[in-house]
């Protein structure tokens, strides 16, 4: 990138800059005319100068100038008008000028703003583009937080400066020069005086401001480091908690903030001191004018009129001077910021831009062998990780790399995946070095997958399909307003030097993918690889935990109500109906809490909504009037007593009380006091809070879970009665907060699993969960459309930032699935399945190998293994130790030797 921001701006905005200077100059004409008009209005029609005689006329719009050397020039003879018409005409002209000036201002500001924004867009894009072209080792020293704050915040002022980069000095310089020349014309000595003072201002002030720039640079660096540090805290939060180092982090942050404060405070002090000095110099000049000019006048060498004219002219000088100096400061400041930023984006070696060009038709499958030629790999300090190694791999081979960590096997795989670059030697596809080949070739012909993948926040499917999106295949067609927006977008992108690639295009080469996976649709291809890596069950589990969207999924919801019935029938048919205690209108569900039985539905929204319902007048009054409130109050007392008596002998955090969810453990003493305060028969007398708390205890009480015997037959009946009453007469504002349980309706506020069960798991039945699982699977697999919809739902699961909502094993399986989904000639699996047990590794590995061998032209597969347990599944086994190949033999030979030893 350009070292000088000025040159960068000039290179990309030259034409716009010249245009804006021209427009600014043009706008000066109406601007100065509007200064003159008020005087004309007051002196002419209002004061009546020129209208001394009745019926006299004065020319309107007469332009004549007294120019030096030329004499009087009449540009327009004007229109003769009487007094009143002239007043109207002049006022209207004034109004017109106001509008014209305003419009000029709008145009200029918009134009300048757009200019700045375009340049900002360009710089930001350039920076990110450079990140994409950094060599891998560069990222070891880069902090994500710092880089992102540079791209986001630090370049921001450059956009603002761009618009003023040329206009401002041209314009202000012109103004200052005019004023200075005017003074010179009046009096040469006074002119010289003004010039000298101006020079002092121009030379001294910027020098003093140098320190401001240094401080500004420090401020930028410390702020950037702060951003990096904060990002690190977020990334390392687990370690910080685990090792009780939060206070060390606090100390570090406080110290950094202290340093930043110091710098910022220094900046203020210095800034206002310089400001004072600047104002002082500006004010000293009139002082000299009064003194020296006065002296000249008194001694008769200057007349009074000239002195007044000089002083008046000088008024016009300090303003533009000051702004010019400010502009210069801004220039230096942004230049420094710019240097600070681009310095971070400079690397000795960059991946050549031409290697990353979009290429739809990178050739695949031409049987080129993979060659490792005298390859040496080293870490940052130069310690060798792999000693000079030469290997040859043919297409269609399956190769196991066997060796422990540090043996060199994993770094060789990394090098093939271009995660690390060789210190010497080469990796070649046929005759070509992979680092010199376009990424369109290497990135597609080689599929590399390790135990650490990259997962961005988004759905599982987006993460899975990401590596397939190498180049736009089918352009998205825009129509109507979208089309014109797209055109505008393209135009702007071009002006900012951004590429015109559209993420909305179809980027996946579906045809190749289907050929590769032998599936009929993209979805089926996805399911196939998910099956191989054994993620299908997890995905179904995600689907079961999904809440459907009533707008999008109403069809599926209808089908799930059918599944609900079928599930029930199947349970009954197996004589296992008891494992689920269903929600039945008119019946109390013993497996659910009293509150859930009363509400008989799910609350839309969170606990806040529930609160809203419970404190509503309707709800309170119904409970009171029906007598259920008092029953619940009494039962609450009983439940409280029982809980307290259970817990009084043992510490409340004893393992025995893990299942106590009636109230938080540290509330025990409060509950004890509550029970003493409010007796079991004090429903009417107890305070509102006490009454609510005791009723709440009953509401969350679940007889089947706690077994306190507090649920009497009478109360259960009453609950059902009040439930039915409420469902009949509940006001609409409360009704719409609840999704009721109705056997033929889908409950959107509940997840898919709850909807299929439509009841509570009866935990007293042995193996209830397993039976439900099995019956559920049987029912769902009967319907292809539902099974597929389930996988689809599961695929829309949000994996969270960095995939944190997945387990480590799920992430690794996903990473492996991504590699399998790609049609490549060489697959490298670098301990991809770390953390799985040997049986699972075996199953998945065999599945994957079988899948890849099915292809017409089977690819080369390299698999880095931690031990030799699985080596027998490969054609060829290469053993590594201490950075060297110690054995390289076909499977049978290897097995024989292994057996012998």
């Amino acid at each position: 990138m350009e070292q000088s921001l000025f040159r960068y701006i000039w290179t990309y905005t030259r034409r716009d800059q010249m245009w804006i200077v021209f427009i600014v100059a043009l706008s000066m004409i109406p601007y100065y005319m509007s200064f003159d008009l008020p005087k004309q209005i007051v002196n002419g029609p209002i004061s009546g100068i020129g209208f001394e005689q009745a019926g006299a006329t004065v020319p309107f719009m007469r332009f004549e100038y007294d120019l030096p050397f030329v004499g009087n020039v009449v540009l327009s003879p004007g229109l003769e008008l009487e007094r009143l018409p002239l007043l109207v005409a002049l006022s209207l002209a004034f109004l017109a000028l106001v509008v014209v000036n305003g419009l000029f201002k709008v145009y200029i500001n918009t134009y300048k703003g757009r200019l700045g924004e375009r340049l900002l867009r360009r710089i930001r894009f350039d920076l990110v583009d450079r990140i994409l072209r950094f060599p891998p080792n560069r990222f070891k020293s880069v902090k994500a937080g710092e880089i992102s704050t540079m791209v986001k915040d630090e370049v921001e002022p450059m956009g603002g400066f761009t618009s003023d980069a040329f206009v401002q000095p041209a314009f202000l310089g012109g103004q200052a020069l005019t004023a200075l020349i005017f003074i010179f014309v009046q009096h040469v000595w006074l002119g010289l005086l003004a010039l000298i003072m101006a020079l002092i201002q121009v030379l001294v002030i910027p020098r003093l401001r140098q320190r401001l720039i240094v401080l500004g640079r420090e401020r930028q660096l410390t702020a950037r480091q702060l951003a990096g540090r904060v990002a690190e805290i977020v990334d390392g939060i687990e370690m910080i908690h685990a090792t009780d180092t939060t206070n060390l982090v606090r100390a570090d942050i406080a110290t950094r903030l202290g340093r930043i404060f110091k710098i910022r405070y220094d900046i203020y002090q210095w800034k206002f001191f310089v400001k004072f000095l600047n104002n002082f110099i500006a004010q000293v000049t009139p002082f000299l004018f009064y003194l020296i000019g006065g002296y000249f006048t008194i001694t008769g060498r200057l007349d009074v009129g000239q002195l007044v004219a000089v002083i008046n002219a000088y008024k016009e000088l300090p303003g533009p001077m000051k702004e010019l100096i400010d502009w210069d400061l801004a220039r230096q400041d942004t230049q420094v910021k710019y240097e600070q930023v681009i310095e971070q984006f400079d690397a000795d070696v960059m991946i050549d831009a031409s290697l990353q060009e979009v290429d739809k038709d990178a050739e695949l499958g031409d049987d080129k062998p993979l060659e490792i030629r005298a390859l040496t790999l080293a870490d940052d300090t130069g310690t060798p990780l792999l000693n000079s190694t030469t290997l040859h791999f043919d297409m269609s081979e399956t190769v196991a790399f066997v060796g422990s960590a540090g043996s060199g096997s994993d770094v060789l795989a990394d090098a093939i995946g271009r995660v690390i670059w060789p210190s010497s030697g080469q990796i070649q596809l046929g005759e070509q070095d992979i680092l010199r080949l376009p990424e369109a070739v290497t990135g597609r012909r080689i599929s590399y997958s390790s135990s650490e993948g990259y997962y961005f926040s988004g759905t599982l499917e987006e993460n899975l399909l990401f590596p397939l999106k190498n180049a736009p295949r089918v352009a998205k067609i825009y129509e109507g307003d979208d089309a014109s927006f797209r055109n505008w977008y393209i135009d702007e992108a071009e002006r900012s030097g951004n590429p015109l690639l559209d993420p909305e295009d179809e980027w996946i080469d579906v045809e190749t993918l289907l050929q590769h996976t032998g599936a009929e649709t993209l979805r089926q291809a996805v399911f196939r690889v998910l099956d191989i890596v054994e993620l299908t069950d997890d995905i179904v589990e995600f689907a079961l935990r999904t809440r459907l969207d009533p707008d999008k999924d109403s069809e599926l919801a209808k089908r799930l109500v059918d599944v609900r019935v079928e599930f029930r029938d199947e349970l009954d048919a197996r004589n296992r109906g008891r494992v689920v205690s269903p929600f039945q209108p008119g019946a109390y569900n013993i497996e659910a809490s009293v509150g859930e039985n009363l509400l008989f539905g799910q609350v839309k929204g969170g606990p806040e909504t529930l609160r809203q319902i419970v404190i509503s007048d309707y709800f309170r009054n119904t409970l009171r009037d029906s007598g259920l409130g008092e029953m619940m109050y009494r039962a609450g007392h009983e439940i409280g007593e029982m809980a307290v008596s259970l817990m009084q002998d043992l510490p409340p955090d004893h393992v025995f009380f893990e299942r106590m969810k009636l109230f938080p453990m540290d509330e025990l003493s409060n509950v004890q006091r509550l029970l003493q305060r409010a007796g079991p028969n004090d429903f009417e007398m107890a305070t509102r809070d006490d009454r609510s708390e005791l009723m709440r205890l009953t509401a969350v009480y679940n007889e089947s879970w706690y077994r306190f015997g507090a649920l009497r037959e009478v109360m259960a009946k009453k609950v059902v009665e009040v439930r039915e009453q409420m469902q009949r007469e509940m006001p609409d504002d409360i009704r719409e907060l609840i999704d009721f349980y109705e056997p033929d309706q889908y409950v959107y506020a509940a997840d898919v699993r709850e909807n299929i069960l439509f009841g509570k798991v009866n935990s007293r039945q042995s193996n209830a969960e397993a039976i439900i699982q099995e019956v559920g699977e049987t029912v769902v697999t009967r319907h292809d459309d539902i099974a597929e919809a389930f996988l689809g739902l599961g695929l829309s699961y949000d994996v969270g930032s960095g995939g944190r909502r997945l387990t480590a094993v799920q992430r690794r399986k996903l990473n492996m699935a991504r590699a399998l989904l790609r049609r490549s000639d060489y697959y490298v699996f670098n301990r991809t399945l770390l953390g799985l047990d040997n049986d699972a590794i075996s199953r998945i590995m065999r599945g994957a190998l079988e899948f890849l061998r099915e292809r017409e032209k089977p690819p080369l597969v390299i698999w880095v293994l931690s031990n030799n347990v699985h080596a027998s599944d490969f054609d060829r086994v290469i053993c590594f130790d201490a950075g060297s190949v110690v054995e390289d033999s076909p499977r049978d030979e290897y097995l024989l030797r292994a057996e012998a030893s």
Partner: protein, 148 residues
């Protein structure tokens, strides 16, 4: 519907827990799960990890032991019997298999809870030891019988 009171009573009937204060047994009952087994359903399987034990509350369960000759019945147990006790105390897999003979209702006690309870009572440790050694002796005797 049976409640904690009944469960506490059943717990106090088991030899191992006989001497322990009812208030503590009540806590143990609270911490445990009630489970219903259908006729013929397996309650514990010989050789599996003994993480839990079952106190029979209702019904009868049949004990069997696998021998080289096949399953050998060791008789039935009923109300107040703690199934899996020996294995839990000894920290070994289950010595025998037990399955429901007719519907059985039992209280499922987690091993960690049981040990936690015993740990707090000095008396119970010696009772546990006695109970354990007696049981092991019993089982061995029967196994020998079965083999011989």
């Amino acid at each position: 519907m049976m409640c904690i009171r009944d469960e506490t009573k059943a717990l106090s009937m088991t030899p191992l827990l006989k001497g322990i204060e009812p208030s503590k047994l009540r806590c143990l009952a609270f911490a445990s799960d009630r489970i219903i087994f259908e006729d013929g359903e397996s309650i514990i399987e010989q050789g599996e990890d003994a993480d839990v034990g079952f106190v029979v509350m209702n019904g009868e369960a049949e004990m069997t032991v696998d021998t080289p000759k096949g399953g050998e019945s060791l008789g039935t147990v009923g109300l107040g019997h703690l199934i899996g006790e020996a294995a839990m105390l000894a920290g070994t897999p289950y010595f025998i298999s037990v399955s429901a003979k007719g519907p059985v209702e039992a209280l499922c006690i987690r091993k960690e809870h049981l040990l936690k309870l015993l740990e707090g009572c000095a008396d119970s440790t010696s009772i546990a030891l006695q109970s354990l050694s007696k049981r092991i002796a019993d089982v061995e005797a029967r196994q020998n019988e079965a083999v011989g």
